[in-house]
Amino acid sequence: MLGLNNKDTKFLIIVILLTLSTPFVMQPFSESSAMAQFNGGYPDLMQRVAIFGIFAIGFNILFGLTGYLSFGHAAFLGVGSYSAVWMFKLLSMNIIPGIILAVIMSGLFALMIGYISLRRSGIYFSILTLAFAQMSYNLAYSVLTPITNGETGLQIRPNDLRILDGEGSSTYTNLFGLQMSSSAKWEVWGHLFTFNVGFYVCAFIAICSFYLSLRIFRSPFGLMLRAVKSNQNRMSYTGLNPRPYTLAAFVISGMYAGLAGGLLASMDPLAGAERMQWTVGGEVVVMTILGGAGTLLGPVLGAGAIKYLENIFSKINENVLHGWFDFLPDGLENLLVWVFARFTGDGWHLTLGLLFMMVVIFLPGGLMEGAERIRNRFGSKGDIDETGASTTKPAE
């Protein structure tokens, strides 16, 4: 089906079901229970999971397949956001033109940056992308203020042009009239589930992105990208020019980043330069590694895990902690609260940093490798062979 073999079709269906059921999966606790604070099923968070999932899927096409570590992908995210907001301002609050322009612009940007950066490899490549990202960020803050609106960021105003929408039209992003922020709520057995338009738009696009990356992984092009990672020397002595292959991968992943940026702007029509900072590019690196670089599902899981945990951890402040350890004697309670408070609330980044280090040190293959190890320990082989090695097996 859809040009996939049976195994991959099954895999894709599982991913689709998982994505569509996110409002349930991320909302496991009843509203009245003490655990309700760990629910993550609200629109904003779910949208971000889907969007950063797209970002990570794209990044993985570059890093996971070719091994080129870019720290500059935040620039494309930013370019995507700015382009989308400009479309909203000039043309229409319908998200389609905005997203299309975001993908095109980031693709052009990636072509330019990639063409230059890919002349070098290894650490030099990483530093070149870093330099480009930092340059775009600085420019967005300073000279490009007419386009980016500097520190304030680009925003929608009621008196914007919006040629297609006409005067006095709404300033909410929509898809042919369907507002991104509108949601349906469903209350059942004390659980509250939110079905948000914006999330489902993001989820649909995320599924398409995943499908496309699945096709790339299984294609001769994907095989060539893995060859780039494995041995470029052999590749060129085999009559293949590695440069256009890596450039193509770079542009594709840049377009994914632009798509993610466009979607971010579509959910919340605002674009700021801080989205272009290299540490944001570092975040997608963290997500991809955490989930498992080079695997299909890993980056999505990584993005989901980080965005979910970020939300939960940031919410746990000292009051919440005091609530938890209330039953302990005062001294011990205060001690435990102090210790935990270092890692929660504002300390989330500390937890993230530690988690990331642990993964790089002990589980270089990320969560997917962890799952693999557990599966091997219990002796049973799962259905889905993740590494892409299945491409070598004869067609069924």
Binding site: L69, A131, L139, V143, W278, V285, L350, M357, V360
Partner: protein, 343 residues
């Protein structure tokens, strides 16, 4: 003319900081072959050593002074730092005043220890892993160190003044025969420049004139052979990592009066110092120094109004632009050796 001299001077202190960080980074590249993304964090920790010392010196004895009262008639609490209690008021105040230079002594053992612990505890396990893994794990460490500092010192910059003696400015203009007040330059920046020159020449002479340094240089060229000669090169490289950490830390200590330290200063300097290293040529110590000063000076020239009016925004990107051009035309940087970090 006076403008040019002024910008040249302005570039020197930034260039000094770049050069010092890049020097440490290059030492680590050259000896251990490790790409250390946590190096900016070491610079930041150095800066916070100086903050910490200042805080320690300010620990005060609280006495109640019955002779003074506040507007409610309560006796005033008077805080007297212990150093003043112990050493007498004048000496005590002088010690506090000189806390930044004193922090050098305080920072050296701390930074050496942190460097040693980092190498033995973490970096050691990554020698045989790909460079990408080294980048990733040290990037993770950088996040952790930065967040730990943020937890203890908060997110706001903490002012750490230089000693009173150095607070003024020096009028270079009159010395060179220009009008007064044309070229004025803060004393502390001169101190910083001199300090960095001392450190740089210290490191160079250590490598050049001591047996230890000779072995290390030999090891940088061919680690295996030196190891086969029965020399414990690993141990020396660990020490060099400590030295590199100390250089970064001292650069941070002395930088505090120029810019109040905050928790993300490490990340801010990291990208720039990597660019410096790449421009200088990976693995080349003189290259790192040269590129550090060159880029610092270029940056301050680019921020001149005359230049900005021709090329708006050039001051924001000049360093990156130079780096990109250098990397593309001279892939090994200004003074890089063949085959360093080339895949």
């Amino acid at each position: 003319m006076d403008q040019i001299i002024l910008q040249l001077l302005n570039g020197l202190d930034k260039g000094s900081a770049y050069a010092l960080i890049a020097l440490g980074l290059t030492l680590i590249f050259g000896t251990l072959g490790v790409v250390n993304f946590a190096h900016g964090a070491l610079f930041m920790i150095g800066a916070f050593c100086s903050v910490t010392l200042q805080k320690i010196l300010m620990i005060s004895q609280i006495t109640i002074d019955e002779s003074k009262t506040d507007f409610l008639g309560n006796a005033l609490k008077v805080k007297t730092p212990y150093v003043e209690v112990w050493f007498g008021e004048a000496t005590g105040q002088a010690i506090i005043d000189w806390s930044v230079p004193l922090a050098i002594l305080f920072a050296i053992p701390i930074m050496l220890f942190i460097g040693w612990a980092m190498e033995r505890g973490l970096i050691k396990h990554f020698y045989n892993r790909p460079h990408a893994d080294q980048i990733l794990v040290t990037f993770g460490l950088a996040i952790v160190l930065q967040e730990v500092i943020k937890q203890f010192y908060g997110a706001n910059p903490i002012p750490t003044p230089a000693p009173d003696v150095f607070k003024g400015s020096f009028d270079f203009g009159t010395m060179l025969g220009f009008e007064a007040n044309k070229i004025i330059y803060p004393f502390w920046r001169i101190v910083y420049f001199v300090f960095s020159v001392i450190i740089i020449s210290g490191v160079f002479s250590f490598l050049r004139f001591t047996t230890f340094g000779m072995v290390v240089r030999a090891g940088m060229v061919d680690r295996e052979t030196v190891g086969l000669l029965g020399i414990n090169i690993d141990k020396r490289f660990t020490i060099m990592f400590g030295v590199a950490a100390a250089v970064a830390g001292l650069a941070g200590v002395m930088y505090t009066p120029i810019n109040s330290p905050n928790y993300h200063m490490g990340m801010d300097f990291l990208v720039l110092s990597f660019v410096v290293v790449v421009v200088g040529g990976m693995g080349s110590l003189p290259g790192a120094i040269l590129a550090g000063f060159m880029l610092g000076i270029l940056e301050s020239f680019a921020s001149m109004n005359e230049i900005k009016s021709i090329l708006p925004g050039i001051d924001q990107i000049i360093i990156y632009l130079v780096a990109i051009i250098i990397l593309l035309t001279r892939p090994r940087g200004l003074m890089g050796k063949k085959g360093v970090m080339e895949d």
